[in-house]
């Protein structure tokens, strides 16, 4: 018995395990990383959780600022920078909680893939973190005061979980990003953030999407085009679409269900793509004076279909003509449908995509009209359901 136990304990030392026993208060937990280029070197900025417990701030919530430490360092490689930052941070940096990777546009237009190599190589980094591209200095983004959370990067990441209510940005995780870039078409997209002024406060705002082609950023889509991209990627879970019937008469549709099907038909070098989008929605904001009846619905449905079609069309036009980059599902679908032909057209895909004929078919349906029928004052109407018909 004792011998068995002895052998068991000894074998524990032979096997591998997690040997990085490190006290929580001896590490610097990085929550966000900013990557920039300066003088042919990599400028790394990290957002570290400030460990000093500050009772008032912690309980009152405050504005949430002052809970983080921003450090910057220039280095040749990412790992070198991470290690050299120990000199500043006085503690070993722990990247296990790095949730946001903010890459400057300058770097993204260069060779930022090589920079991110260690992120996918090392096991410490989490692949469910989110990359962002920004035109500003990444360390400025990281030091923007937060609204609710303690950390700016945490707040950025929580924003990405709101896709149920808004479809104006295209979120993705590092894992999805690597999946895209290592797929048949090495193109990807990354959401962009910028700093805005709202009243006296500076806030971060997610707008637009960076388009990555062959490991380099080649351009960007604005907010409307991002919406179109979301339609194409079948990523729309919710959000709203606003159409105007006449001047100043606007109607908003809350999207409850949306589905996009991409069907490529390859004819030699000519690609025809049929894109079918089905939308179901609730009439949630009616600023017109019209009575909501069947004809009115039909009209809105038509308008919404047209509007979404336009959005998709604009995005596609930009991707096809201007950027010649396929970050949509079209390439993947073609690869799936024509795996044999793909080998031959693979190298010319950008050309084929740019010249593809794409027909967009949007079918919008209003399934619910909200709780009331019409929005205008109803004095002129007969009180058909007046519970007291004889009184006035």
């Amino acid at each position: 018995m004792i011998r068995t136990i002895f052998i068991m304990i000894c074998s524990l030392f032979l096997l591998t395990g997690c040997w990085n026993n490190q006290e929580l208060d001896k590490t610097a937990l990085v929550h966000g990383v900013g990557l920039d280029k300066s003088d042919e070197q990599l400028k790394i900025s990290v957002e570290i959780i400030k460990p000093t417990s500050n009772q008032e701030g912690g309980q009152g919530g405050g504005k949430g600022s002052g809970q983080h430490i921003i450090l910057e360092k220039n280095a040749d490689t990412f790992l070198e920078g991470a290690r050299e930052l120990i000199r500043y941070a006085k503690r070993r940096l722990q990247f296990g909680h790095a949730r946001a990777w903010i890459i400057s546009e300058r770097l993204a237009k260069g060779n930022f893939f090589q920079v991110l190599d260690s992120v996918s190589r090392d096991q410490m980094f989490r692949l469910n973190s989110h990359p962002f591209v920004t035109q500003e200095d990444p360390s400025d983004i990281l030091s923007t005061p937060t609204l609710y959370e303690n950390l700016t990067s945490l707040e950025l990441v929580t924003a990405l979980e709101q896709t149920q209510f808004i479809a104006e940005y295209a979120p993705l995780t590092l894992r999805e990003f690597y999946k895209l870039t290592e797929g048949p078409i090495p193109n990807a997209y990354i959401p962009m953030i910028s700093i805005k002024k709202a009243g006296e406060q500076t806030i971060t705002s997610i707008d637009g999407t960076a388009v990555i082609k062959n490991n380099q950023m080649v351009g960007k889509l604005n907010t409307e085009e991002t919406m179109g991209l979301n339609w194409l990627l079948n990523h729309v879970e919710g959000g709203s679409t606003t159409v105007s019937l006449d001047e100043n008469e606007k109607v908003s549709l809350e999207i409850t269900k949306a589905k996009t099907k991409t069907k490529p038909i390859l004819n030699g070098r000519q690609l025809n793509v049929g894109i079918q989008t089905k939308i179901e929605g609730t009439l949630s904001d009616n600023m017109t004076t019209k009575i909501s009846n069947e004809a009115f619905f039909k009209e809105i449905e038509k308008k919404v279909s047209h509007h979404v079609q336009n959005e998709i069309h604009t995005t596609l036009k930009k991707l096809q003509k201007e950027l010649e980059t396929d970050i949509t599902e079209i390439g993947l679908e073609t690869h799936r449908t024509y795996p044999e032909q793909w080998q031959t057209i693979h190298s010319e895909w950008n050309d084929i995509f740019a010249n593809a004929k794409i027909s967009i078919d949007v079918d919008a349906n209003i399934t619910h009209e909200g709780l009331i029928n019409e929005s205008d004052p109803r004095e002129h109407r007969k009180p058909y359901n007046n519970p007291y018909p004889f009184s006035k």
């Binding site: 068991m8 524990l12 096997l15 395990g17 997690c18 040997w19 990085n20 026993n21 490190q22 006290e23 929580l24 208060d25 590490t27 937990l29 929550h31 959780i49 460990p51 000093t52 417990s53 500050n54 912690g58 809970q67 722990q94 296990g96 909680h97 949730r99 410490m124 989490r126 959370e149 303690n150 950390l151 945490l154 990441v157």
Partner: protein, 521 residues
């Protein structure tokens, strides 16, 4: 060779000692002379003040007088029974005929529970000490052992250790006689058998085995009896002694013999084919076989609706897991796998850690030990001092230590949760404390890997245990799927038609026929 001789000598000594242990059964005849007998008795019982020699004379109709003597222990026999039922009938009315060789006529005169003839004097001495009265009459070489026992016992109360909202309010007491009657009232069938063995050379503790002959596996009874027979000790002080002397695995941290203070539970256990051990002088009755699963069951489960009791059972399993592994998981996540902490939780955790001057392992182990101290103090402390303890425990340990920065608040929460969770599973609450510390040490050295290894080790040990030959982890391992109906969840009573297979028994069906559900007649 010399060593061998030593061993031989030891064995010889042991045999002699064993013989000595059996000296109670020594044969010593009564003398026909009453004075002779008195002398022997006085010599054997000594001058203890509680030994009473009551001398009197029995008149015969022919005018003869016989001197007689009643020997009993003060406080063990009922004084009025002695007077009214023994002395009065013998003194007041003269015996009609001439007495035969034995004490038959006298025996018939007595109006007591039981009176038996005894030839062996030394056996009679022990019977006197066990609350019997000995009657000796001049001219007879035997004595009459009269049962007029009556000593102070506690009233039957609701047991504190196993409370039930809906259930019997009776609990076992220290007297086996009463306990036996409590059981007999619940199982009024001749098949319920009691057998008593006296253990302990000096204490002469009565250990009563109870079982239902038509249900129990007689091999099991034989095994229990055999083990009890083998015990030759000076004294048995409590049920814990017996438990640890007859256990299959006396060195395991897990108890393989169960105990209960509730007669209703004991009766239910008998009905499942178990063997009970009632130890005189102890309100806890032992039962074998005891399974791991029973620590999570409660007599109340069968009284309340099946759904709620199933829910509570699941909760108990969860509580067990929480109780043993929470501090271990805490340290393995915080010190080894920091990426596993939810992002929103890391800020408060890191802030709490920052002020604490000790390493996390020391902080947690300190807290665990402090909680253990407070618990122990709470159990042993006189009730009047309880409020002082709660102030010290709650205020100093909980609040002030956090604000002083000696302990982090998350640590207190984790340790407290694991302790409170243990209180849900009272039968093995003491075991969880040890497992908790073991798992904690393993994972503070090796991280989650160590935790997994220690858990595996624990599981391996648990699966290897047996309770008087019955595997401790049944019905899980070896599996008896039929018994899972009354395992982690409890099926409605109507579906529990079969007696648990995990416990060896002779009668598989326990419900022969049931009213049809929704029968209109």
């Amino acid at each position: 060779m010399k060593r061998y001789a030593n061993i031989k000598k030891l064995l010889k000594n042991m045999k002699e000692r064993q013989k000595e242990g059996n000296s109670n059964d020594k044969w010593q005849p009564f003398s026909t002379n009453i004075n002779e007998n008195e002398k022997t008795l006085r010599q054997q019982l000594g001058t203890s003040q509680d030994v009473m020699f009551t001398k009197f004379t029995i008149k015969l109709q022919n005018g003869d007088r016989l001197s007689a003597m009643l020997v009993a222990i003060d406080g063990l026999v009922k004084e009025d029974a002695k007077r009214d039922n023994v002395l009065k009938p013998l003194i007041e009315n003269p015996l009609q005929e001439k007495l035969n060789k034995d004490l038959k006529q006298i025996q018939e005169r007595l109006s007591t529970k039981k009176a038996t003839l005894e030839d062996n004097l030394s056996k009679a001495v022990f019977q006197i000490l066990k609350a019997k009265a000995l009657l000796i009459v001049d001219g007879f070489n035997n004595g009459l052992l009269i049962t007029i026992e009556g000593f102070e016992t506690r009233a039957i109360e609701e047991p504190d250790t196993e409370q039930a909202v809906r259930g019997a309010r009776e609990g076992f007491i220290e007297s086996t006689g009463v306990n036996v009657s409590l059981l007999r009232r619940r199982v009024a069938h001749p098949s319920l058998r009691f057998e008593t063995i006296e253990i302990g050379k000096f204490s002469q503790t009565g250990v009563t085995i109870a079982y239902i002959k038509d249900i129990v596996d007689l091999d099991l009874v034989q095994r229990v009896k055999h083990r009890l027979d083998k015990i030759k000790v000076d004294s048995i002080s409590s049920s814990g002694d017996v438990e640890q002397l007859i256990e299959d695995h006396p060195y395991s941290i897990l108890p393989t013999i169960g105990n209960t203070e509730r007669p209703d539970k004991a009766a239910a256990l008998l009905m499942e084919g178990r063997v009970l051990l009632l130890i005189d002088g102890n309100p806890f009755c032992l039962y074998v076989p005891h399974l791991f699963l029973e620590s999570f069951q409660n007599i109340e489960d069968y009284n309340s609706r099946p759904y709620y009791s199933s829910f509570i059972r699941l909760l108990r399993f969860l509580a067990f897991f929480i109780s043993i592994s929470f501090p271990a998981l805490y340290i393995s996540v915080l010190n080894f796998n920091k990426s596993l902490i939810p992002s929103d939780m890391i800020v408060p955790l890191i802030q709490a850690r920052e002020t604490v001057p000790f390493p996390l392992a020391m902080e947690v182990i300190m807290m665990i030990l402090m909680f253990e101290v407070v618990r122990e103090a709470g159990v042993r402390l006189p009730k009047q001092l309880g409020s002082a303890l709660s102030i010290v425990g709650a205020l100093i340990l909980g609040d002030v230590s956090v604000s002083a920065g000696l302990v982090g608040a998350p640590t207190i929460v984790i340790v407290s949760i694991s302790y409170i969770a243990a209180f849900v599973i009272t039968p093995i609450a003491d075991v969880t404390a040890l497992i908790r510390i073991g798992l904690f040490i393993a994972s503070s050295v090796f991280g989650s890997y160590g935790l997994c290894m220690a858990m595996l080790g624990l599981l391996t040990h648990m699966v290897s245990l047996t309770s008087l030959g019955v595997p401790y982890m049944t019905p899980f391992s070896p599996s008896h799927f039929q018994d899972w109906k009354d395992g982690i969840i409890r099926f409605p009573t109507k579906l529990l038609k079969q007696r648990p297979k995990s416990i060896p028994n002779k009668r598989t069906t326990r419900m022969k026929s049931l009213p049809k559900t929704g029968d209109k007649q």
